[in-house]
Assembly symmetry: C2
Homo-oligomer: 310 residues x 2
């Protein structure tokens, strides 16, 4: 197993200024796995759904070489459901409904066939659940990436800090980096967070791009692609994480230079994600579309300066 | 004359979470000219001050090869004065005092020796004053850059639109681009604004960097340098504009590729500006410091991706 992805597989009902999605498949694990599937050959997911979850979506995962032996299906129970409404600026949203359902007492079980995974992506979930996955792996993966959110900083900070000591990369947004560190400057925040355990920190700034910091105070910045329309931001951060870890798992190269490339591939997958409701755009991309999108990122930021004084 | 800079030369009194500046020299024209002086050989300023303006600052301008024949000194009058207080996030501020003084009836006079300028930078001022400068030039400069702000969109939109038809590059921030175009998406906003006259649009996003758009729908993005501390953001946009136009005036190359380089040099000057109160940091930089800062920008964004499929 090259990559193990842990994260929610669920239903969303999303309202944006452009329309309403009705009940569609979402969840961090779904976005991560779909985005990563464009890069990895062997990918397995650990999650839980109810018996209301559509078989077609599981079939689609199989088509994308996403193994679902670790996807528990709870008979007579319902899948996690979230409904939300985005404001006009698309940067803020109101949660209308959160029904935990099967996620309330989710006990992740890593199948034997996943246990030797080389890369582990822990999508946003209770820190205790994330920890239980790490504990089931007999050997430490080459790289463990953890995503989390402000909610867990509010109600489970100690558990979060414990799991931070076990991971290589943390991905959070700018406000969360400020909350976790108590520092407004993202440079200072990164320094403090890296002292908490992870050797690398990715700060996701949404439409303003992403920053990658390492313990040697190196920093890399990738912009978000300026788009005509952001149709639905749901899952953008997870798609980013999926492209990032998928590219690393594919190349098996965890040098800082290769992590920079992974950030660009992650940004490309996030830029696709927001162009349609839910996972629609991530379901049917061609290799050529991915390459063309990455080329747009290259064109967006590359410049040529010679610093020889004249 | 290589570059003509028009803009306020004034006093500021700035309060940030880090302290209080008391009354110091500021003004868009001052920041632009100082930042540009690191690149251009021949640079002249058109502005107005009262007899309260310190001779030492004018001497400093001369040391930096900034000609002041176009700087009117009004006897018995006072220089423009602005006082403001930044909030903790440094992204928003309250204006405490605005005393227009000599700026209230400023009638710009371009000296004969400036009239053949190759590059013209119109700093933020009444659009009618910006227009009067353009009208005094017998030949159109190679490139005219205009900076403005939401205030003029509110009270002098027609005059602003008239002057927009006369310029090559407009520099505004993201909120102003949205206000001027009526579009939330910056890509759509850029398209509409470029239809208003300027062939190029620079959208300044403060700590989130800057975007350069052209009429062929090409786009370039430069980040802001992630800094440990932003000490005083006053003048950052003007320092950006000064570095940008100064580099273009020095290289005399207005290709899109060279404008990308100019954006990076502008971003470098802005990053220096915010490290101290007012113009302090821009007064004494070495060529080596500028080069090292630009190298930091290169390191921040450059990556190497081969898109050959394997």
């Amino acid at each position: 197993m090259s990559l193990l992805v842990v994260g929610s597989v669920a239903f969303d009902d999303i309202e944006t200024p452009f329309g309403k999605s009705d009940k569609i498949v979402g969840g961090a694990g779904t976005y991560i796995a779909l985005a990563a599937s464009y890069f990895t050959e062997k990918l397995g997911i650990v999650s839980v759904v109810g018996d209301d979850f559509p078989k077609e979506m599981i079939d689609l995962m199989h088509q994308k070489n996403i193994e679902t032996d670790g996807l528990q299906v709870k008979e007579g129970e319902k899948s996690f459901f979230w409904a939300g409404r985005y404001h006009n600026d698309m940067n803020s949203r109101d949660t209308l409904v959160t029904e935990l359902n099967v996620l309330a007492d989710f006990d992740p079980v890593v199948p034997e066939s996943y246990k030797n995974c080389e890369f582990l992506m822990l999508g946003n979930l209770t820190p205790a659940v994330q920890m239980r996955v790490i504990e089931q792996l007999p050997n430490r993966p080459k790289m463990v990436v953890l995503d989390t959110m402000n909610f867990w900083m509010d109600i489970a900070l100690d558990e979060l800090k414990a799991v931070l000591k076990k991971v290589d990369v943390l991905t959070i947004n700018d406000e969360e980096a400020r909350q976790l560190s108590g520092e407004y400057s993202l440079v200072k925040a990164a320094k403090k967070i890296i002292e908490m355990g992870p050797r690398f920190l990715v700060i996701k700034k949404g439409e303003h791009g992403a920053l990658l910091f390492n313990a040697d105070k190196e920093v890399f910045f990738a912009p978000a692609l300026p788009l005509e329309e952001v149709f639905d931001p749901t899952g953008a951060g997870d798609s980013f994480a999926g492209g990032f870890i998928g590219y690393l798992a594919h190349t098996k190269d965890i040098s800082f230079d290769n992590m920079k490339r992974a950030i660009i591939f992650g940004s490309a997958m996030a830029s696709f994600c927001v162009e349609k409701f839910g996972t629609e755009k991530l379901q049917n991309l061609s290799q050529q579309e991915v390459d063309e999108r990455v080329q747009e990122f290259i064109d967006l930021v590359q410049f040529d300066i010679s610093l020889v004084n004249d």
